[in-house]
């Protein structure tokens, strides 16, 4: 019987395992050094905040694995010997494979800051990082101030976590506005304001120069590059993005770039070795996507795709329309299609932006400046229906159509305040149009013909 070994029990590896089991009888072994069972990485923050216990963020009950004949091995993979199709575990044991899937995920970026490896300095990615945070910042007495370096999704999550225990947080962001490499300016501005509402000391245009230690080798302060200011603190969170976790593959003969280089079928240069999830790097970017996409959803999709290929139905990884979501403190964010921040914005993209005059709610719709084809939408504080935008993007609808039918796409809970009237009237003013929003139609939403 063919043995498939998967390195990593994150969403990519586990999805691959589940789908291989669904389509075949192969022996499946998942190796992980991190935890015994699969958990939702994106939910680690809720454990620290006391919303859930660790067991709650495990999507499957513990009996699931044995019942589905997925063997779990808790071990660290030191080396991959592709010639003998063998892994070395924990520096001693070996494990043979016929097919190997690398799904080893990411690790936090460190950019060579002086003091970046001191006690009290950490990233937030793994279960071990969460455990470490309970040591570094269990409460506001032990951690009198925390400094977070890097203004992205993990940074703002870490800030929210620490604030839930009343720990004062200083948030150093290199850019002149939060996450504006991705978000358009108006949206980024809303989040800047919201961060401050949560009593987080947000420092924009601010870089870290060095982290200083006390006599025992623990962090005691950070120095800011621009001003030379010294901020005393007991914990430093490094959240300046992540990078593929592939050090153990160095001498394996598997082609590496920043990540594990794969073709569209997610195969590496070595036969029977595949890579999926955060650690996989496409030879060429797909559409507007980046070659490495460290996102929950893409990991899941790659897992599904690679399972098809391994089970005798070779398939290319062809992700559909881009989508993503996040929550910035209390503000939910969703995106469908492409809406670029001011830095990376292509020439052909025009944006329409609406913001509520008092609430933290806004929408940005992007469209092609010549053809007026709808390209994408970002929403803050309004939920949108994935299926509708996926359909509109596939059908290549124009921006006027999208604006006119916006009520169909609303996914907010029942009785919520509606903003479409406001949005459409701003669109009409901005673009000299006379669109009347159509009422929500269940027929259209659920694609019923009669």
């Amino acid at each position: 019987m063919e043995t498939v070994v998967i390195i990593g029990n994150g969403v990519a590896g586990v999805t691959a395992a589940r789908h291989i089991r669904k389509h075949s009888d192969k022996r499946i072994i998942i190796v992980s050094a991190e935890t015994d069972y699969f958990f939702s990485r994106t939910a680690l923050m809720y454990v620290y905040m006391g919303h859930m216990k660790f067991e709650h963020i495990q999507p499957y009950e513990n009996w699931f694995w044995e019942k589905n004949r997925i063997e779990l091995v808790r071990a660290f993979v030191n080396k991959v010997d592709t010639k003998n199709k063998q892994l070395q575990l924990d520096g001693s044991r070996t494990l043979n494979y016929d097919t190997l899937i690398i799904a080893s995920g990411s690790k936090p970026n460190k950019f060579g800051w002086p003091g970046q490896d001191l006690h009290g300095v950490q990233g937030l990615y793994s279960k071990q990082d969460l455990d470490l945070l309970e040591v570094n910042a269990p409460n506001k007495e032990i951690c009198k101030r925390a400094v977070i370096v890097g203004g992205g999704l993990i940074g703002i999550e870490l800030a929210e976590m620490l604030r839930s225990r009343d720990i004062p947080v200083t948030f150093l962001v290199r850019e002149n506005s939060f996450w504006n490499g991705v978000l358009p300016d108006g949206e980024s501005q809303i989040i800047n304001e919201h961060i401050k509402e949560h009593h987080i000391d947000l420092r924009l245009n601010t870089n870290l120069k060095e982290i200083k230690a006390d006599a025992s080798g623990r962090v005691k302060s950070v120095i800011i590059e621009e001003t030379g200011e010294e901020l005393s603190c007991d914990m430093v969170g490094l959240t300046a993005g992540v990078t593929p976790n592939i050090d153990f593959l160095k001498d394996s003969g598997i082609e590496l770039g920043r990540g594990v280089r794969v073709n569209r079928q997610l195969q590496t240069n070595i036969p029977d070795v595949y890579a999926v999830g955060d650690c996989a790097e496409q030879h060429e970017a797909i559409g507007n996507r980046r070659p490495i996409e460290a996102v929950w959803y893409t990991g899941r999709m790659m897992g599904e795709t690679v399972a098809q290929t391994i089970c005798g139905n070779p398939l290319e990884y062809k992700p559909g329309h881009w989508f993503n979501s996040a929550k910035f403190l209390d503000i939910e964010y969703q995106t469908y299609g492409w809406v670029f921040g001011s830095k990376g914005k292509p020439d052909y993209e025009t944006q329409f932006h609406w913001r509520h005059n008092s609430e933290k709610v806004c929408v940005t719709i992007s469209f092609h400046k010549n053809t007026h084809k709808f390209l994408g939408i970002n929403t803050f504080g309004i939920r949108m229906r994935h299926e509708i935008f996926d359909r509109w993007l596939t059908e290549g609808k124009g921006v006027d159509f999208v604006v006119e039918h916006l009520k169909d796409a609303n996914f907010d809970p029942e009785f919520y305040k509606k903003y479409e009237q406001d949005i459409v009237s701003k669109y009409n003013t901005d673009h000299g149009k006379h669109i009347k929003p159509k009422n929500k139609s269940l027929k259209r939403i659920f694609n019923l013909t009669n």
Binding site: H51, I57, Y317, G320, R385, F411
Partner: protein, 534 residues
Amino acid sequence: MSTYDRSMALTGQPPKQLSRNQKLATLLGFFGLAVILLAAFNVNFPNKGLWLSISLGAITMGILWFAWDMYSKKEPGIKNDGVWFKSISSQGFWGWMAGIALTGFYIVLYFYPEYLGLAAKGDNTGIIRLFDPLSRLLSGNPASQWFVYGTLYTVAILAFGIKFIWKYRHNRYEKIRTFSVMFFQLGFAFIIPELMARLNGSSVLNGGSLPYYDLKNMWPLNYYNFEGYRVKAFLSSGDIGFALLIFGVASVFIISPILTYKYGKRWYCSWVCGCGGLAETAGDSFRQLSDKSVKAWNIERWVVHSVVVFVTLMTTAVIYSYLGTDTSKYWLTKNTFLIGVAVLLTTVFALVMIFKREQLQKDAKYGAIGYLVIILALIAMHFFSGEGNVFLFKSGTLRKSYSFLIGSIFSGVIGTGFYPILGNRVWCRFGCPMAAILGFQQRLFSKFRITTNGGQCISCGNCSTYCEMGIDVRAYAQKGENIVRSSCVGCGICSAVCPRGVLKLENGPLKGRIDGNQVLLGNDVDLMTLVNKN
């Protein structure tokens, strides 16, 4: 896992620590309870109206003050920080203490009301007497242990309801729903029946006396509604009495199926029902304690449906016992009634098996067949065995055991007493026959569903953790499948706590209501078709 200690101390670190205001508020609330407790030990308060007001006022103000301090200084949004660190909400020391206290209260209420001051002869004493002024104000009669219970129940729903609204002030669905349960408790369950008691003996009722009737409380939750003494009382109270009896029947067979078809069982369970009302307000802090395992789900299905069978048998036997045998006196006789019940159950069974059998799991089918056979066999036995012993037992025995086991122990002692241990919907989930019947309709004949938003789920588990009914919401959401479960009461909290906007409660077309897509949106279209074909 967590370095947080789980001691019983009220002090400690945020977010589990109580602020000074919260401590004072707790003290105020307990002072209100202490007044009641003193009354139990027969401290004779001089001005009962005043002391009752002080007591209930202190309880209410304590709760509101606590809530104000907890939520008013924070931005609107999800307020679950520290839920699993606090001993009261994580089955810790204070959780167990609260559970024991509540359980004790229910045991006294149901089985030893004399400790509340119920007197066999003459005037009541103790707690019950403390509540006399309010009872006289409403119905004109002295209080009973049930009046005491009803008052405290209503105060709890109102005060904790305001706390809940504060907590979810960013969420209009939750606000409106909570107003609704507060309104139905205060109006329908508490004030109207008390005022209706004033009509008793009046000419409007032809001199008759209506039974105590909470109009929104329908059979089988109100399992005693069609008992002999009540039916007699309805029928002796003129047109109003007759109308109420018809309403009681119509609410089970006409009104509730229509509303459940349109909106799901939430219209009742989380918008109207008193048990649901208490669970959603006073029980909100314990919703995360429900068991989400598949094992618990299996137990739930068997137990709750067995209660339905039990209540059906019991009610049939009770009605049977007071019907006559002579068709010339009254059209409904023992025999026609039993045949009617048999025909109704067989019809429902046949319709489901013909049209919906593919939606039933194997054990559900066996269960349904088994139970139908048992009921029909028992009814058939009647025609061979003769009088008095329908269903092998005397109807009185059946009724007493139901009232003891289900009415008191299950719904009260376990259902509410165990809030801090097993979660706030234990009764609704495992015991309530009403919820089971509405759930059956919701699962098979309803437009209601919780829609999963394409591929946006990140499997975080907030929805499952905060589902009071113990539904593993995430199991569906992460597959891109809609949630259509008979037990879902539509409280909307899964949708509220979801950080990615994945879940929406909505009423939509029946077509595609249960979406079994195994591959999530966002993927390659070819792959989606391929996998869904397999």
